[in-house]
């Protein structure tokens, strides 16, 4: 559905997007991930034909953004970072205007406006001035605007930015509902969002593609080893931290034991396993057999957050950033 090849965007002094390539299949939700200023918005603006690329090509539904922008625009719904609203208009009036602009005929427009109002739960404010709406409602009106012409591709630039937690959940649900009929690219720098709603992730940093894969693959590949937090307390008498640590290290499959905290007869450790080993049952048994109390045993695991930090932070540590990239992409 979307195909990006060697996309580069250079501004006067900076390179915002540097040689990015990826593909998105029909019906997928793709999370576009990166720290602030990574080039997410620029890439999206190129895909929506708002900006032309400096080099490389991008095609949406088989149409090139440079050669056939008109056809691309017909098939795209776009919610920019700040929803493009006219404060002096009423909600219905605004949606009617956008719908007409997107080519919906005057016979269908009233029905379509009603449909998206219902879908985005903004029916109760349909006759309000947009300037009077709260941030959450504005965001939803922005989303309604993007889907009004039932586009094949939806491009959402930080759709949940600035919403309260309840609204974030609602928006995520809405986006999930939209998947299937629409191919969706959504950008964010909030990771749980990707874990919740996306099937694939494209991570970019400083304009460069860092990784692109399915969410599961990415977590699995980078996770490998398991990490477990454990808290041990004594049942009688004080505990010797050194002894406990030694005992834990002897459990098969454990690669490393890091002491974390020690207070009032309770000791906590972080235990890392060897790659591909499940060590929690063994750990529990070892602690109980030694006659201690097992207060807590919990998998920490690498969250997408840490993976993300590893991927985007690695450039500074690595002398050869290109290598780091190859490792991940290969």
């Amino acid at each position: 559905m979307i195909k990006v090849e060697g996309l580069t965007k250079r501004y006067a002094r900076t390179v915002a997007v540097n040689n990015i390539s990826f593909e998105v299949e029909k019906g997928q939700i793709v999370g576009f991930l990166g720290p602030n200023g990574a080039g997410k918005t620029t890439t999206m603006r190129i895909l929506t034909c708002f900006l032309p690329p400096t080099a490389g090509t991008a095609t949406v539904a088989g149409f090139d953004v440079l050669e056939n922008p008109h056809e691309v625009k017909k098939r795209i719904g776009y919610l920019p970072e700040t929803p493009p609203l006219y404060p002096e208009m009423e909600v219905s009036e605004y949606l009617t205007f956008v719908g007409r602009l997107k080519g919906i005929s005057s016979a269908d427009i009233a029905r379509r406006v009603g449909e998206v109002e219902e879908r985005c739960a903004i029916g109760d404010v349909r006759n309000k001035l947009i300037s009077k709406l709260s941030k959450g409602y504005r965001q939803r009106v922005g989303l309604a605007q993007a889907i009004i012409h039932n586009p094949d591709v939806l491009i959402l630039d930080e759709p949940t930015a600035g919403l309260d937690p309840k609204q974030i959940i609602e928006t995520r649900e809405l986006i999930k509902h939209l998947a299937g009929d629409h191919t969706i690219i959504l950008s964010t720098h909030i990771l749980p969002e990707v874990e919740h709603s996306c099937q694939r992730v494209v991570i970019i940093n400083q304009g460069k593609l860092v990784a692109t894969d399915s969410v599961e693959n990415l977590t699995n590949r980078l996770r490998g080893a398991e990490s477990v937090a454990i808290e041990v307390a004594s049942s009688n008498g004080p505990l010797e931290p050194h002894e406990v640590q030694q005992r834990l290290e002897q459990v098969s499959g454990v690669s490393r034991v890091l002491p974390r905290e020690a207070r009032e007869g309770r000791l906590s450790f972080e235990v890392e396993s060897l790659s591909g080993r499940h060590i929690r049952p063994e750990l529990a048994r070892a602690v109980v057999n030694a006659g201690w109390n097992l207060n807590e045993l919990r998998a920490v695991g690498l969250s997408l957050e840490e993976i993300f930090l590893q991927l985007t932070g690695s450039e500074k540590k690595n002398a050869e950033p290109a290598d780091a990239e190859k490792e991940v992409i290969a």
Partner: protein, 255 residues
């Protein structure tokens, strides 16, 4: 063309949703009314004087009331137009709605033409205020309607030209105040050009004089429809809209 109309209607609605349209109309009605009062008072006085002295003076409402009034209206328009055009693009650039327009399946020229037409229609509404006064002239006198029509055509053409230039200036900035200020300055400059070169008959002076918006309006005020002036205005409108579209395209490349 459908898109042009959609955008034009939206622009008009925006003007009338804010106080700006009403303010401009009220302001123009007041100023024009004052001009009308002065012009008719002088006309009547002149008539009395002619009678008292027993001389038979040629009197013409068209020549002595309407012509100066049209000239007056064209000058007042110079001050109103920046207030109409300043928000056209600057506001959309600031609020980010330009992104909506530019990513919709609408061509640049449709956006520009729609906005310009919207501004022109508002300008017509503002000019329409003067119809009250002209109607009074028809109620109490017998002015010739054809020169009046030509005069109004001139006002519309001159307005269209300045609106096109204002639209261009509005695309160059996010700041409405700057857009309005610069447009006002340019309007003033185009108006004053004829003063600078009033006594300069060299080739250079003639060129500058030709560019003045006012010199081309004089014919219309007299009720003379000269194709040379019509072409001047039409080509200026085209030029203004053309550079607007260039400027909009450069937005994409620079953004």
């Amino acid at each position: 063309m459908k898109n042009v109309w959609i955008i034009c209607r939206k622009e008009l609605k925006s003007y009338f949703a804010s106080p700006i349209a009403y303010l401009l109309m009220a302001f123009f009605a007041l100023i024009f009314g004052f001009g009308f009062f002065t012009a008719t008072r002088d006309f009547v006085r002149f008539g009395f004087m002619a009678q008292m002295q027993g001389r038979d003076m040629p009197m013409s409402v068209n020549e002595q009331v309407i012509r100066p009034l049209l000239g007056f209206a064209s000058t007042v328009a110079l001050f109103l137009i920046p207030m109409i055009t300043m928000r056209l693009f600057a506001e959309e650039k600031k609020s980010g709605t330009i992104e909506l327009l530019m990513t919709s399946p609408v061509r640049d020229w449709e956006i520009i033409l729609g906005k310009w037409l919207g501004a022109l229609l508002l300008y017509l509404c503002v000019l329409g205020m003067s119809a009250i006064n002209i109607a009074l002239l028809f109620a109490f006198g017998k002015p010739d309607w054809k020169p009046i029509l030509v005069g109004y055509l001139g006002l519309i053409l001159q307005g269209g030209t300045l609106l096109a230039i204002g639209a261009f200036i509005s695309t160059t900035t996010k700041n409405q105040i700057i857009a309005g200020g610069v447009t006002f300055f340019v309007c003033l400059l185009l108006w004053l050009l004829s003063w600078f070169t009033a006594f300069d008959s060299s080739g250079y002076g003639q060129v500058v004089n030709y560019l003045s918006i006012v010199t081309h309006f004089e014919g219309f005020a007299k009720g003379v429809l000269d194709s040379k002036d019509v072409i001047f205005y039409l080509s200026m409108i085209f030029f203004g809209l053309f550079i607007t579209s260039r400027s909009m395209e450069s937005l994409r490349w620079r953004a």
